[in-house]
Symmetry: C2
């Protein structure tokens, strides 16, 4: 299965949740902080408890880079815990001039062997193409992000009358015609905004941050995608899942939360 | 000395060159490829030969990340070779939602202890602020990059009639009023473009890629900055310095090239 097929197969199985492993040693349950390799212990437990219920895992590179080389080792070790049929996303927001982007692409797709990556499109096509050249992988371009700062540049109106992020979405669709492996990141904090733009996504797979701790509603997002008969999306949940419980039962709590949400999604899609 | 003082002291000493350590095992002289830790050996030799002539070194993270955890170790080991008075830039083009940018900032400024970082501004102020909070460090925001893809989004005309990159420069100046530690990346491939925009940079330190292998002229860039009486800029040169010579004398060749360019800059500033 290539990356796109992996997402679709999970969605067809009514699994839409991507668990963000934004693991911060200062936020994991204090009872496990003194474990050897505590971050790895935590990730392993979360994965073991949730792997049969999730569609994907997303590794937020920042939380590992802060630990230097050891952090990169933790990424490798975490990936080893994830069954190969589950979709894994390198959330690293990379992008640079072409010869540099080639190296970033090689890092996430060859060295670490992720299925997908998040790429910041600001530097334009030649900064993105080295990722797209990996035909069995997926490259999620940032369309509209879920943070306050999305207002600063992404929502600027450009001369054509559309917003910058809407123009980026159009370009992504254009680039996707050639490579068939482009996806979009679109913040789901504001449902109206998602509703207004969902048609423009065409058939591109969508990664949706902004639900959970950042304020977006899981149910509403699922209902919206259902109403458009779309089954190629991932709702990312990080803090609201992995830090759901601060006891030794954090893994079970994470699992139960996902099962609850899966049931909601199932119900919505079968209505 | 904080980061800004370091740049200024080097410029006052007529040193304007930043050497980009984009070290690729496939491009270093074949005679040293079989050295143990060949990339480190190469960087060490380049640094030893050039450290009294350069203003700064810039580490392009992609070329190290491609090697996984070992690559991050190489960054640490390379930094150890650089004297503390020389300015060191983490060229990592990071940027994400605030709690994630905090981790990226902590990684480059605390774990690795760089003086400066390059940040992609696309996600807006809250993605940049965690970097700016390090008051003794410098954060270079991407204004206009030196690649072809800069045309795709950075040069779009926005509603106000200016180009997106010009608006980003204005915002950078606004943010700099508070933190006094903002810089700009501005591609020097096209001299006319640089000339048209140099006044808008205000007093922000400028990192200039695009000279050398990418086509921009060193002499012209120095003359332009001289004509504006500006001494807070760094001209980045990577491939044209570090791969100048493919023999065992690569380090001496790099040194001679920098001395030649320093002499040109000196001549221009004393004319």
């Amino acid at each position: 299965m290539n990356a796109l097929e992996k997402i679709i197969s999970k969605n067809e199985d009514n699994k839409f949740i991507c668990v963000g492993l934004d693991t911060d040693i200062n936020k994991i349950p204090s009872v496990i902080k003194n474990e050897k390799d505590a971050v790895h212990f935590f990730n392993k437990k979360i994965i073991e408890a949730t792997k049969d219920s999730v569609a994907a895992y997303k590794i937020n590179f920042a939380f590992y880079e802060v630990l230097g080389p050891y952090g990169f080792e933790l990424i490798e070790k975490t990936l080893q815990e994830i069954p190969s049929e589950i979709f894994v996303i390198a959330d690293s927001k990379r992008g640079d001039i072409s010869n540099t982007s080639e190296m970033y692409a090689k890092s996430v797709f060859e060295y670490f062997n992720f299925d997908a990556v998040t790429v910041n499109p600001f530097m334009g096509f030649d900064s993105i193409e080295p990722f797209l050249k990996y035909e069995n992988k997926l490259t999620f371009l940032l369309g509209l992000t879920s943070n306050q700062g999305a207002n600063d540049f992404q929502k600027l109106e450009i001369k054509s009358g559309e917003k910058l992020f809407q123009y980026i979405i159009k370009k992504s669709i254009e680039w996707n015609y050639k490579f068939k492996n482009c996806g979009l990141v679109f913040g789901a904090t504001n449902l109206e905004e998602l509703k207004e733009n969902i048609k423009a996504f065409d058939t591109l797979p969508i990664l949706l941050p902004g639900v959970g701790s950042q304020g977006g509603s899981f149910d509403d997002v699922v209902k919206l995608f259902k109403s458009f008969h779309r089954k190629n999306f991932l709702i990312n949940l990080s803090r609201s899942i992995i830090y759901k419980d601060q006891s030794l039962n954090f893994d079970v709590a994470a699992r139960l939360e996902i099962i609850k949400l899966n049931n909601i999604a199932n119900q919505i899609f079968s209505d």
